[in-house]
Symmetry: C2
Subunit: 301 residues, 2 copies
């Protein structure tokens, strides 16, 4: 983040009905001239779109955040495309945040963690994982659902981002419920996140267990920072969902790496607002976010 002077996370949320023009148009047949099945055609287009988006914006970003659902919709092909996208992002010097919001316990959580992080040693040989640097995790099932992810991530120097207070309107339905002992459900989750964390690998004062805190409700952000003084925060909802970079200051209290500013459509679809080529518009929007967030984070503390 220091080298790139950026906190911007490029959300990869490829919508098959809104890929950049030209994605996948080149080859609709396989190596032997055969017609390709729809999932394969769609996968090629999705991969080209994601690569172009990464190429256009990588300089302004520190990470990509692939939304796993968008890849899973293509079945087995989707997992291969996801792997290729991750590889492309790494080659561009970006971290990878696997946004799958998995939440399960025990051996199931271990299997999810192996799948997204470092893989699994088996009697058949080592099976690779996706190799993500960070994964998003759902805490509804309690510490059982968090600890296996945290342990697996810690083992390979990765990290976990726990859903604490999300940016969607429905967050009021469960996350915001008031508890009899005071505070909301999400504040109790924030306390669990704070208890779980240990100092991260870079000795920058940040924990290795972070939080997802929506950028659409800035009032929550200051409180979340109080409850989790050293947690890195992934801040979705900037841009298309209405959050403003300027309201993110509390995230940067423990340092400039305290907040990861995530945006998907406001970058990939910037050309719909500003006109021009998608790549140029995306680059400009990512750079604008980078500059705004970086300057803001200098003023905090």
């Amino acid at each position: 983040m220091a080298a790139r002077e950026s906190q911007v996370v490029l959300g990869l949320d490829p919508d098959l009905s809104a890929l950049w023009p030209g994605s996948g148009a080149a080859d609709s047949r396989g190596a032997e001239g055969e017609a390709l099945p729809p999932a394969e055609l769609a996968g090629r287009a999705m991969l080209e779109h994601c690569r172009a988006l990464i190429d256009a914006t990588a300089e302004a970003c520190v990470a990509v955040k692939p939304q796993l659902a968008r890849f899973e919709v293509l079945g087995a092909v989707g997992r291969s495309v996801l792997g290729a996208v991750v590889e492309h992002a790494r080659a561009a010097g970006l971290m990878v945040i696997a946004d799958g919001k998995r939440g399960d316990i025990d051996v199931t959580a271990q299997a999810y963690a192996a799948s997204l992080l470092g893989g699994l040693d088996t009697s058949y040989g080592h099976i690779d994982g996706l190799g993500a640097d960070l994964v998003t995790v759902n805490p509804l099932m309690g510490l059982d659902a968090l600890e296996p992810f945290v342990a697996a991530a810690r083992e390979i120097g990765s990290g976990v981002l726990v859903l604490v207070r999300t940016s969607n309107p429905g967050a009021v339905d469960v996350e915001d419920l008031e508890l009899s002992g005071g505070g909301a459900v999400w504040e109790r989750i924030a306390e669990l996140v704070d208890e779980l964390g240990r100092p991260g690998r870079d000795d920058g004062g940040l924990s290795d267990v972070g939080a997802v805190v929506g950028a659409t409700a800035p009032g929550h952000l200051a409180r979340a920072r109080e409850l989790m003084p050293s947690a890195p925060m992934l801040l979705p909802g900037v841009g298309a969902q209405g959050g403003r970079v300027q309201e993110l200051a509390p995230a940067f209290l423990p340092g400039r790496a305290g907040g990861l500013v995530s945006a998907s459509r406001s970058i990939s679809e910037a050309h719909r607002l500003t006109g021009g080529e998608p790549a140029a518009a995306a680059r400009a929007e990512a750079e604008r976010m980078r500059e705004t967030a970086w300057e803001l984070s200098a003023q905090v503390r």
Copy 2:
């Protein structure tokens, strides 16, 4: 369920270190004699294990419940294996409950639903989904995270099972928190489930939105039934996790189809307790569960 006189759900939770003997031993090389990568070898073994387990127990069961994490750990291969397992289960006359506990909103939830249920129409052609009859869903993010799944399921006559009160010890950390207005978090989630449901396709008095309620805490079951009088309930935790079939009576109040009794290890690893061939031991245990639950459900009402 009536035809098979069964409420038993076979959990497919294949552990690569505990597959049935003989699974995948036959072919360690591909069609052209090449050495296969570890994921491919493991995938073949996993598929053979799951097929043998289904063949052994299908007569006593109404559904399989593949634990998606176990397949995802094999990457793209895992998704292909999952598809083949689902096909095998359908050929054996079983319903399929995709246990992925996904929880996300809006277009992301739609993509997860398309992936697990009916697939997606695209400009590249129709991309098939997994074709599950039921999917498990995580409600932490609120109604936003449930409604897209419910809508997608309703469109094709499938259903949704919402995590309400899970069977793990960590359920106390978030699900059991007491609310200021009375009741626990999970009871509020139960109310949301009840509000979301509509009469299911078979006109048997059951809703098309069901609930996952752990069989390890029978006290919760009666209360859950009060709050969700017509929700089908998936009851995990019977057997290996300590829940007993006899304690499930409240699930069957709206009828015999009101409870789906799920077990994984207690069936697939029955031979470790009873000795003998894995298939015979699994068949006997599944049949024992079937009979116990079916008789119990006759005594309710």
